[in-house]
Symmetry: C2
Amino acid sequence: MSILIKNVLLEGKKRNIYIEENLIEEISEVGSIKEKSVEAEFVIEGKDKAAIPGLFNAHTHAAMTLLRGYADDMQLQEWLSTKIWPTEAKLTEDDVYWGTKLACLEMIKSGTTFFNDMYWHWRGSAKAVTESGIRAALSAVFIDGFDEERAKEQMKRNEALYEESKKMSKRIIFTLGPHAIYTVSEESLCWVRDFADKHDLLVHIHLSETEREVAECVEGYGMRPVDFLDSIGFLSPRTIASHCVHLSRKEIELLKKRDVKIVHTPASNMKLASGRMPYEELKWAGLHPNIALGTDGCASNNNLDMFEEMKIASLFQKAFSGNTTSLPANETFALATRNAAKIFRLNSGVIAEGKLADVVLLDLKKVELVPNHNLTSNIVYSANGSCVDTVICDGRILMEGRHVEGEDEIKNKAKGVAYELVK
Amino acid sequence: MSILIKNVLLEGKKRNIYIEENLIEEISEVGSIKEKSVEAEFVIEGKDKAAIPGLFNAHTHAAMTLLRGYADDMQLQEWLSTKIWPTEAKLTEDDVYWGTKLACLEMIKSGTTFFNDMYWHWRGSAKAVTESGIRAALSAVFIDGFDEERAKEQMKRNEALYEESKKMSKRIIFTLGPHAIYTVSEESLCWVRDFADKHDLLVHIHLSETEREVAECVEGYGMRPVDFLDSIGFLSPRTIASHCVHLSRKEIELLKKRDVKIVHTPASNMKLASGRMPYEELKWAGLHPNIALGTDGCASNNNLDMFEEMKIASLFQKAFSGNTTSLPANETFALATRNAAKIFRLNSGVIAEGKLADVVLLDLKKVELVPNHNLTSNIVYSANGSCVDTVICDGRILMEGRHVEGEDEIKNKAKGVAYELVK
């Protein structure tokens, strides 16, 4: 398959982008279309459109779309124990499949072509991602509740899923998902560490999200969370730590030393009043390239719109630091694109020859993008997901003119599943 | 003109809404359409749609759409003195007209049917509002720079504009716009007070936005800003104070005692790192019904999407107070609807018989609104302006199926004006 995007705005200039198979084969000046470009099977008119890399949602629980708006504005523990956990306990693989289908649809419609997930019923998520056409790093939630039997089950399950994943679409990256230090035993964390080392896997964990987590860790292990994980050799360049709100200076230095990757989840941290990831401090420590951006699940956000997340990220950092220059638009855009690509070891995150063909076209006629003094500013501070017109992932057109194949069926089925779930 | 909205979701129930002239004449159960409803000139199918009141943007500088994305991420004073003020000094009435046209278009497209403005070249704004079909409270910026001559000019200009406004569309409310205590002399503030008293006018002022404003006030007048305004008898139930970030306990009590109205502008306060309006404290003082919500101008937001503003408001209050139950969705929705209607003395803000026909229909098939466990939660935490399908204001259909008359011309002209301005 080949696609030619004609006459599109790319970093301020009009360009033709030629895609062959799943790669960006050639970027050329308008008026100099080479022969092979002319032969493209699909031609997309790029007039009044701008090309940007597909966005990366680096931390979510995709199928939680099913719980969007089900419970909000509650005390954290009450919310979890009376609303979220009891509902999640009833989830079937089919529920997760439809919830993830809905999430993939929402992400495509808002220009996201990759997400990093941690959820129950891994196979349901994997099936949905395979069908959707986008990419995902998928981990099964690993929780042993400090129970040896449960730990063994989880290990076996992860070994089995890892084997299964090898036969799946290359768009799916199998990762390990130890939930957090307060739900996974030290023995299991060590197993995760070794299994990840052996197979060169990414490890996705919630880390230092709340003050309570820190306090309990200090009480239980006599150390703060990052210190504890380092003491068991858990931290590596393959560790993807979501949230990282409560960090000591020493912990920041440790994260840098171990080249740990960090996912900032501003909307969720704000809604759950967890606190703020210390962006400036991490940046001073040289960790900016290691930071990506995520929405978290729809129970605590409540959408998957990475445009909105970028804005909230910049606003949150400025408001809390009291510094208007903190997390400027270009740095925020990097969190959602090239930083994330590097973190997830994908040859993408920028639009350039030889990169994966994960391309989003923005509709520059959307009122939020008018005038266009500065596209990056408009993307971060003014746009929302509805400014996306076309989405290409892995060289396949997933949305054009905001039309996604099978959209109505996904919404109807997911709705049915969601209402049944909370009944 | 009469409009029948058939079979639409209204507060959880399927209803027919019948509009005659500019009022909601009748709301009836589906299946019980009365005769006059059947005779409507325009019939809108409400299936898969929900009716909500048009949203109120209670503080903005509409024509600043022209400067969207022109300058961000800078130190406040440098941003104002090197970017915003020099550009504003070049503005013509025609610029403001096109900038406000663009703003009205953006607001219609995101479900806002009223805005409270303060800007230069009042006539340009008024002309744009008249044509757009939405409502606005419009004030000319009153700045005398503590200069007697300038003060006299401003008074004359406001007297003249007030007279002009009487002949204008009833959708336009003339208000007085003394910019702030640090740009307007005490004498002029007293003139504003008296002129407003005499003609029963609303008075729109920036108040206690930054720490610097408070510090300078204490230095200059020996009092904090609210105390100072009260000392000259300025505060009244017609005072609309935007921002109100830095308030002492005594000032909060004063605001309550004088029944002052307050506009919360979370995105702007975050982006400009001004601090946070103490919502919980104002609520404890009984001021919740006096609070509305505004986007501020597009130079400091950078859009006019009240859905996004609602989400940021709730998130901001939760994050800063550390309390997940602060500013829950239903209270936030009230800020953007019925509270604002009362503040601006409009018979609207809810959908009920006898109210002004300012009605917005949401497209419930938008993925952000699926599933629909709780519409208010979805509106505040998940939706964005693109979820709006239809907008009716003052009994006129301004948008249907997201189509607004003359949209392309407005965007093209405004773009041209904007690029010329910053050249």
